[in-house]
Each structure stands twice: as structure tokens, then as C-alpha cells.
Symmetry: C2
Subunit: 331 residues, 2 copies
């Protein structure tokens, strides 16, 4: 059997006051003496009283529910942002109502109508990364909308996302700081915005040091097998290559396998750095790390989005979360 | 600006009926003609009308909100179950309210009180695996409670989790089916229930084939560096070992590195199998896979939990999700 739920009436009885006085003391809606207020509140705490949140939400016209729209909730990056958002909002008594665009045959309009009917207090749109922009939905809601780990075509949208320009610069500068001078870059499709921006800022960092890539940037896919193929090309073209910036950890895993199989040592002969920090995100605790990489800040994005959605006026525009260098064995 | 939200009054006006008739037609709460009902419903659909879910919830005394209690929401296994649960429930108009036990200084009692005050319609407790049981909270709620990816000490609790006994048997039998006969097992702590059960059922599978391990089971930790250490011991003790069952993919990654560095080929000399299917779970799509492994069914657990929580009477007891063999390159 469940323990009995404590009602306002129980509190009033135990405190020896009327139901109306108990309500006033706990809701702060009318003038009563501080002593009475304190007495009723102490009694409520002692009994373990909690407001009936459903009745209170209805009275206020607020659902204490935040809508979350995902493009693909099963995407591993999306999951990290989603879990963080749900945790942070839950700690503030806010529920989330998730619509995953991939699930439904229905288009986004249907999701918008359902979310509005649910009287959500705000909306978070979680993307799968910065590769391609997402449509802006802000004008279709009269509650705050924040975009996480994606971008839109409207520069006034409140967007919190990763910083590909800073990521590319950080990776290139780390290789340079270790004295590496014959560098290659292996990354994803040439039309992928994240790949473009990481490549452009890394190229600029090399130029600032008076250098250029030892071999043209290899554009391909965010995949381990592409890392293998591209590393073979790089080694054939520049046998004395001494550093490889891989656009993702998946690419780096494939590339490292090929570099090692060629008889070269990592990092002594070839230093390698990836992006994503998958080893730590997979393990949820500090374990021995192998691949030097860059943490793009998915959990930080989730925390900031949750915090700002509950603020009265989130600032319009894009906020970038600073990436963090995660040094391990490979450079 | 947001599009105007369509009210019941708009529907009534457009359909040329009274507000009361419109309400009856849409809620099915009174006797009106089928023709009128159809007409009002068609009008509502055409206008894009949605009930005010908040008002309707309040009238019904249901919050359309499911409580979710996690032990550690940032755990990567928990996140997969959580994202699946949120997606499946969202598709059925159910919000989730998450309390993460790790976040709060408050104990579990506080979370229980808050969840009950919120008038949740059901509760899902998501664990971090089958290594250790979680306390039963079922008796403290008068709504359905389901446990996901964990176990409790009450056999009547509704629990949906992974099947360590089937996992161990599947792994051992796969190695045996490939003709391997000199086998080792590297796994986690000896007091970890998941490690124990996987080891016991794999040992039984060997016994059923008239075999025993070529070297005692190595109990250690769920870590890559333990995989390295244990593999070194195994190779030193049984140089002609021809198969290794690793209790997790992390252990397998470390062990494989050592096996290859010793000059042995995988799988030609040493076949290797892990558990967790991390390569696929990390990538959200079918990519070239390297490690042969076992999918324990985290997404399936999430789907079943969400479906059963919304059923009138979930069946008491533990339901095990069948593991799936994922064949790749290493055996």
C-alpha cells in the first residue's frame, strides 16, 4: 500500500488553523501574521506535505512541461543533450514531452499542433549536430524556443551549440605546440558545415604559424573505414607525415589502425588527435584514455539550454560552448 | 508571431453549433446524432483543433506525466533506455518528469514525495545495469511502477531487463560453434551479479560440450586497461589460447590490443567476442563493424517498459529481453 498522501486539510488540522489560513500561509497569497505563516509551514514540512502540482499548474495556466523536439532521438549525440536537459529540468520540477521527428509519418506541423495543445511552457529543439541547419520554428510558438546542438537560418533564434571554429583551431594548435610540422587533416563531406568550419579554422591556424597542410585536406565521411582509407592515401603521399588531425574520433580510430599497421609509432612518429571525446562519454567516469581528442561540450549545451529556458528572457542569437582539449596518449 | 490557437469556440462557430454541442461531439460524453458528431469532428480536423490537454488532464485527474527515477542519468547505458522511453511515451502524448538520484543531496524519499505531489500516472525506475539490485519502491506509489535495466529484491516487481544468463551462453556457444576449444573468459568484479551470471552460464555451456576453461576465469573490472592486463596473463599461461570471451566491449578492446601486439592474428589465431554492441550504439547507423559482440537489448527494454506502463495491468515479475549476437570481424 502507498503511504497516505498528505493533503492541505491534514496540514490545517495539525496546525490548528482553518483550511483557508493554511492555504494562504503556504501560497503567500494574502496577509497573515509571520508567526502563523511559519507555524503552518513548519507543520507542512514536518508532515511531508506537497502541493498538488496538477491543480496548481491548472490554476496558473502553466503545465510545468517543456516540449522537446528531436530530429533523431536515437542519435548518440542527441541522447547526451536530451538526458542532460531532462535531468536539469527535472531538478526544477519541469517535465519534458518529447516528439521525435523520425518516429512519426506525420510532418513537423502535427508535432507543433500537439505541443501547443499540451500548453507547454517552452520548447527545446535538439539537433544531431552542426553539419546542416534546421528550420526555425520560433514564430510558431508563443513560448520561449531554444535550439540545442544545431543551427537555424534565423540569426535571432536562441541557439546554444558547439563551436566548430574553435575546435579546428584548438586541434591544429595542439599539434603545432608539440612541434609537429608535416600535418594532414582527414574529415567528413566537403558540404558538411561542421567539417568545413573545422577545416577552415585549422588551415588558418597553420597559416598563422607560416605553414600549410603537407597534403590536401581529405574530405570523406564521419566513419571509421573512411579514416582507414584516407590514412593509407596520406601515408603513401607523405611518408614522413608527423601529425594527423582527424575530424572525429571515429575517423581517428580507423586512421590510427592504419598508421600503426604501417609500422609507425603513435605518437612518436605520427601524433593523432580526434574530436568528440567518445571514450569518456561512453564510460561515464574517468578511465584510462587512449585517444587525444576534443570535448565539444554536449553536456554543457544541455545544462545551459535547460537553465536559459527557465529564465524570463533568453538572449537572442547563437551562443557557442567552448571546446576542451582532452589530452591522452596519441599526442 | 504564433499562429492563432484554435479554440473549441472557433470550432462551434465554424460548424454552426452551440459550444455545448461541439464539446459533446468531440468528447463523446452525451447522446447527439452521428451526423452532427461527424460534422463537428470534420470541422475540428479541418481547423487543426486540439483539445486543451491541460484542462482535460485536470478534469480527468491524470497528469499525462510519467515519473522517471534514474540512479545516474549520465550513465551511457541509462541514457539509451531513457531516450527510448522518452521517445515512445512522447509518441503517446505522455511527458516524463525525471529525478536523477545522483543530482540531489536529498535522499530518495524526497524524490518520492515530489513525484507523488506531481500526480504522475506511473513511474519508471531506470538502473545502470544488472550488476547490483536496487531498492523496491513499488509499495510507496499507488500508480504502476516498472523497473528497467536493473533488478529489485521483490520478485513481484514488474521488471524488464537484460538476460545475463542468455548472454554468457550465447557468447560461449558462438566461440564453440567456430571450432574454438582452448577458451578464456575475462570479466568484471567477482561480486558483480552480471559478471557472475555471464561467467556461470558460459561455464555451463562449455561443460555441456565436455569442456572447461583453459585457464581460470579472470575477474577484474569493466575496463579497457583490465582487458589489457588480463589478456597478458592469459597469453603467458596458455600461449595457444584460441578464443576469448570478454565480459564487455571495453574489456575486449583492451584485450584485443594486447593479443595483436603479441603477433597473434584475430580471429585466425584468437577469436574474440565482447558484450554491449557499443560500436553500433555509438554510431546510430550500420557502419563497418569490427568487434563481434552481443547486443543486450537496451532499446528493446525502453520500448517494452513504455508500452507496458500504459497497459492496465502489467504482469508482475521479471521479463528478460533476449540478447542478439552481432557478428563482425573478430569471430
Amino acid at each position: 500500500m502507498a503511504d497516505q498522501l498528505i493533503t492541505l486539510s491534514d496540514v490545517a488540522t495539525a496546525a490548528g488553523v482553518s483550511l483557508s489560513t493554511a492555504s494562504k500561509a503556504l501560497n503567500g497569497t494574502d496577509r497573515i501574521s509571520q508567526a502563523t505563516r511559519d507555524h503552518v509551514r513548519d507543520t507542512a514540512v514536518r508532515l511531508g506535505f506537497r502541493h498538488n502540482a496538477l491543480a496548481r499548474s491548472f490554476a496558473r495556466g502553466r503545465s510545468q512541461t517543456i516540449g522537446v523536439l528531436t530530429h533523431r532521438a536515437s542519435n548518440p549525440f542527441t541522447r547526451i543533450v536530451l538526458a542532460t536537459v531532462a535531468t536539469e529540468l527535472g531538478a526544477k520540477e519541469q517535465a519534458i514531452l518529447l516528439y521525435d521527428a523520425r518516429l512519426g509519418d506525420q510532418d513537423i506541423t502535427e508535432s507543433v499542433l500537439q505541443l501547443r495543445a499540451r500548453r507547454i511552457d517552452g520548447l527545446i529543439v535538439i539537433g544531431t549536430g552542426t553539419s546542416y541547419p534546421t528550420p526555425s520554428l520560433t514564430s510558431r510558438f508563443d513560448v520561449p524556443v531554444i535550439y540545442a546542438f544545431t543551427s537555424t537560418e534565423d540569426p535571432n533564434d536562441v541557439t546554444i551549440t558547439s563551436d566548430d571554429t574553435a575546435i579546428g583551431k584548438l586541434a591544429a594548435n595542439h599539434l603545432l605546440s608539440k612541434g609537429r610540422r608535416r600535418l594532414a587533416h582527414i574529415t567528413a563531406e566537403p558540404h558538411d558545415h561542421a567539417a568545413q568550419r573545422r577545416a577552415a579554422s585549422a588551415t588558418q591556424a597553420l597559416a598563422d604559424a607560416g605553414l600549410d597542410w603537407a597534403t590536401p585536406v581529405r574530405f570523406g565521411r564521419w566513419r571509421e573505414d573512411w579514416g582507414e582509407d584516407a590514412a593509407r592515401e596520406v601515408l603513401a603521399e607523405v611518408p614522413d607525415i608527423d601529425g594527423i588531425f582527424c575530424g572525429s574520433d571515429a575517423i581517428a580510430r580507423g586512421a590510427e589502425r592504419v598508421v600503426r599497421a604501417s609500422g609507425r609509432r603513435v605518437p612518436e612518429d605520427v601524433a593523432m588527435i580526434g574530436v568528440d571525446n567518445w571514450e569518456q562519454l561512453m564510460h561515464d567516469q574517468r578511465v584510462t584514455r587512449h585517444l587525444t581528442t576534443i570535448e565539444v561540450g554536449l553536456e554543457e549545451i544541455g545544462r545551459r539550454v535547460a537553465a536559459q529556458l527557465l529564465e524570463p528572457d533568453p538572449e537572442p542569437g547563437t551562443q557557442y560552448v567552448a571546446p576542451q582539449l582532452v589530452i591522452a596518449e596519441t599526442v
